[in-house]
């Protein structure tokens, strides 16, 4: 979250600019003030208008290599839990279970990442009654829904 506020480019590194930018935005110039600012920050992150930006930032944050476009399944599972776990607990659990077991995809790209967030927001759970595979959902989500339906019956 802190990295997002600072809009840090590289995972695990903060440039002086980024550091200054972030702390200024948080109005914190001591460690104590920083600690206090964190809960506020969390609320800010959770605000729907910011969350989308935060969510996509989280993905990009994990692209450590240059020209890397996708993240391996294991990392995705952890990232999902971290970012969406509290908000969409059951969806994340099941989806994580699914992508660990399927064999079609070894990595997840940005499109699929963003697609999942939309999915959690728009599709009724756990029945998926309003899911229409004719629409342009990423294929991995089509397969996920099919897998869920098969599991249930």
């Amino acid at each position: 979250m802190l990295a997002w506020k600072m809009q840090a480019e590289k995972q695990g590194y903060f440039t002086i600019e980024e550091w200054r930018r972030g702390l200024k935005a948080l109005r914190a110039d001591t460690i104590i003030k920083l600690k206090k600012a964190l809960p506020e920050l969390e609320k800010e992150v959770r605000r729907p208008s910011n969350f989308l930006d935060f969510y996509s930032y989280a993905f990009r944050y994990c692209l450590t290599e240059e020209k890397q476009k996708s993240i391996d399944i294991e990392s995705i599972c952890q990232l999902l839990d971290l970012v969406l776990g509290s908000q969409f607990h059951s969806q994340v659990d099941l989806f994580v279970q699914y992508i660990r077991t399927q064999v079609d995809y070894k990595v997840i790209n940005m499109d699929q990442w963003m697609g999942f967030y939309r999915f959690c927001n728009e599709i009724s759970f756990p029945d998926f009654s309003n899911y229409d595979p004719e629409l342009a959902w990423p294929l991995i989500l089509d397969n996920f829904v099919e897998w869920m339906r098969a599991k249930r019956s």
Binding site: S70, N109, M110, D111, R118, E134, L135, A136, L139, D142
Partner: protein
């Protein structure tokens, strides 16, 4: 002149008339008296009285006539009626002539019925519709028709006259007094008869009977009924005999449509077609049953594993089935286009049920182009190829066919096994017409390579001439990589005699074509060897390149172990084993002897030159280069390659579409791509989706930020 009593006048008028006609003599000589009096009466304003007098006199007269008809017995009833009617007509004519002045002046001005029509109406009301005659007339007529239907001979002339009488009285009279009851009774009659027939006849016989009845009715109408009745009565027969029993007839066990088709009963089928054509939905029932029958036999054909062991026979069977049904449609179904379409769609359906159909069709063509068309005339060749093209059109996966065709063609060309160059070219042209230049450009490239190679060889031998005159004769085909099916060239150690020549060729070729790279495809070559065996018998062996290398080893020693050979040759183990098997384990071609004598090749085997080899033939072929049905792993491999080839094609289509449309929703993209690809194969929507996502990842496309169904082209 004193005004005459009109009534008396008309009485006077009618009596002699009636009398004279009954006796056949003509009007008495004072007919001018009649004219004059009629004229005067009208002139002096007595027209009304004249008219009413006419009416009452004629009415009375007709009532008399009616009675005389009523007393007629049996057959003479109609005859009497007919006779009296004839008389009446003649009388009417005369009366009309006599009263012409009244007809022309008095009647129009008073809007009364003209004389002739009056006469007809009075006849109708007093005779035909008299209580004792009306029902009897109707009954008699219907009885006669029924009699004729059951085989009796009736007086048709009489019937015709009676019918004409009814028509003359007005078509309404005809309809009410005859036609309507006639139709009703006929319907009952045919309902009963059709029920009897259908219980005891088979389909073919029933149809013959139905046709006969139909023709009878048409003939009846033409002979003695009014023409307007034809449509009505035929409709009755069609409904009762055909429409009501359509389903039962078509599905009749052992004699229904399916049996007729299987037994090629053209007559029966033609009859069925023309009869059912008359009935609404008749043809669609026929078409549906035929379609499901063809689909059924087709499905059985393509899933019959026994039959599928012989691909050439299988395809021949497909062609035969198509021919058979084609004939039926053209001979019996009047070449009906809707049936043709049904036939085509059925074939398309079941041919694509078996994913190996493209391969089999290519094998069939391969067989024909190798030897099957020897001695066949040029036109017949065209016919066979056209038929093959028909099957080709049914394929959904035309790109699979292309792959196999290329493989088979390569084998044919390289082993020199094409029976007719013209036939090959002809087929390529047909494929080009059907699928476009793209489809055949590589195939044509293959032909070009063969030709060019010939020229190259000539040049080589001319240039090298004396240097290589006493070495083995080399024929080399130079293949352009892109055109020919991809083969991995495995290593192979050629014998020194050959190697030298090969190098010379390489130098020569690269001398004239700098910048090219040559790699030997040793797995596709052949060689002719002259061998001398133990007792001095000489044979010429036609073998593959690998086999040649193996055999040449035995020029140095009589015995070689498997491992020795493997080391010396350096060719892949599976190929080596296959070659050794064909050289040592096949009866009649065992130029090598193997110890132990088992069927399979093991690494510990030893091989000996078979001194004792004999054969009746001088030239022996031991090659292994014939095109065969692929083994399971090979099939998977080919299928995999086809799928891989399709991916870039689909992507290219997507990019093309998006470039021109800029923004498009998912369903439309899928539809467009399918349309673009359909001449080659049917793309799977899931595959298309995957390709779209791949393109999104590579930033050729993006999803629209607002409407999630849309994709956008990224320039």
């Amino acid at each position: 002149m004193a005004p005459m009593d009109c009534l008396a006048y008309s009485k006077a008028l009618l009596k002699p008339l009636a009398f004279s006609f009954a006796s056949g003599s003509s009007l008495p000589t004072c007919d001018t008296w009649y004219f004059r009096n009629a004229y005067n009466m009208v002139l002096h304003k007595f027209g009304e009285k004249l008219y009413s007098g006419l009416v009452s006199t004629m009415t009375l007269h007709l009532k008399e006539i009616s009675k005389s008809i009523e007393v007629a017995q049996g057959a003479s009833f109609l005859e009497e009626l007919n006779r009296k009617w004839a008389d009446h007509n003649k009388a009417l004519q005369m009366i009309r002539d006599i009263l012409m002045y009244m007809d022309r002046t008095f009647i129009p001005s008073t809007h009364k019925t003209p004389v002739h029509d009056l006469g007809l109406n009075l006849w109708r009301d007093n005779v035909i519709h008299s209580s004792k005659i009306q029902a009897r007339l109707r009954g008699t007529l219907l009885e006669l028709v029924r009699g004729e239907r059951t085989g009796e001979i009736i007086n048709r002339g009489l019937m015709r006259n009676i019918m004409k009488m009814l028509m003359d009285l007005g078509s309404l009279v005809y309809q009410e007094d005859f036609e309507k009851p006639f139709i009703e009774v006929s319907a009952d009659f045919y309902r009963v008869e059709s029920q009897q027939f259908i219980e005891c006849c088979d389909c073919g016989d029933y149809l013959k009977k139905a046709e006969k009845r139909l023709n009878e009715e048409i003939e009846r109408v033409s002979h003695y009924l009014d023409a307007t009745s034809e449509a009505k009565i035929t409709k009755v027969v069609e409904k009762e005999m055909i429409e009501n029993h359509m389903s039962r007839l078509v599905h009749m066990e052992n004699s229904g449509l399916v049996n007729m088709i299987m037994d090629d009963k053209y007559d029966d089928l033609g009859r069925m077609y023309s009869l059912f054509h008359r009935v609404s939905n008749g043809l669609s029932i026929l078409r549906d049953v035929m379609t499901s029958h063809i689909r059924e036999i087709g499905k059985q054909l393509v899933t019959d594993t026994e039959r599928l062991k012989d691909p050439v026979g299988f395809v021949q069977q497909l062609l035969d089935e198509r021919d058979k049904h084609d004939k039926i449609i053209s001979f019996a179904f009047n070449n009906d286009k809707t049936f043709q379409n049904a036939l085509n769609s059925s074939f398309e359906y079941f041919i694509n049920l078996n994913p190996r159909s493209p391969e089999y069709i290519s094998l069939f063509v391969d067989d024909k182009l190798r030897k099957g068309l020897k001695g066949v005339s040029e036109e017949d060749v065209e016919i066979v190829l056209d038929k093959v093209m028909m099957l080709f059109r049914y394929l959904q996966e035309k790109d699979v066919f292309e792959k196999y065709y290329k493989q088979h063609l390569a084998k044919r060309l390289l082993s020199g096994k094409t029976a007719s160059d013209d036939a090959e070219r002809s087929l390529i042209v047909k494929l080009k017409t059907e699928c476009g230049y793209q489809f055949t450009s590589k195939l044509e490239g293959m032909f070009t390579d063969m030709k060019t190679s010939q020229d190259t060889m000539q040049g080589f031998y001319a240039a090298m001439g004396p240097e290589i005159a006493d070495g083995p004769m080399l024929t080399i085909q130079v293949l352009t990589t892109g055109s020919w099916p991809t083969q991995l060239s495995a290593p192979c150690n050629l014998p020194s005699e050959i190697l030298g020549l090969c190098d010379k060729f390489r130098t020569y070729y690269l001398g004239t074509h700098t910048g090219r790279r040559l790699s030997w495809q040793t797995n596709m070559g052949t060689a002719d060897l002259k061998a001398t065996f133990g007792k001095g018998q000489k044979h010429e062996l036609n073998v593959s390149t690998y086999q040649m290398c193996i055999l040449m080893l035995f020029n140095n020693a009589d015995m070689h172990g498997y491992r020795e050979i493997e080391q010396a040759m350096e060719i892949p183990a599976s190929d080596l084993k296959r070659c050794l098997q064909s050289l040592a384990c096949v009866k009649g071609k065992n130029v090598l002897r193997k110890e132990p004598m088992s069927k399979d090749i093991s690494e510990d085997d030893s091989f000996f030159f078979n001194d004792k080899f004999t054969s009746k033939l001088y030239k022996i072929k031991i090659g292994t280069v014939v095109a065969q049905k692929e083994s399971e792993p090979e099939k998977q491999e080919t299928r995999h390659r086809v799928e891989e080839d399709r991916k870039p094609q689909i992507e290219a289509a997507i990019v093309r579409i998006m470039k021109s449309r800029r923004v498009l929703d998912h369903n439309n993209i899928v539809a467009e791509v399918t349309k673009q690809m359909q001449s080659r194969f049917l793309p799977n929507p899931v595959v298309i989706k995957k390709r779209i996502e791949s393109l999104i990842e590579r930033e050729f496309l993006e999803r629209d930020k607002v409407d999630r169904k849309l994709y956008r082209y990224l320039a």
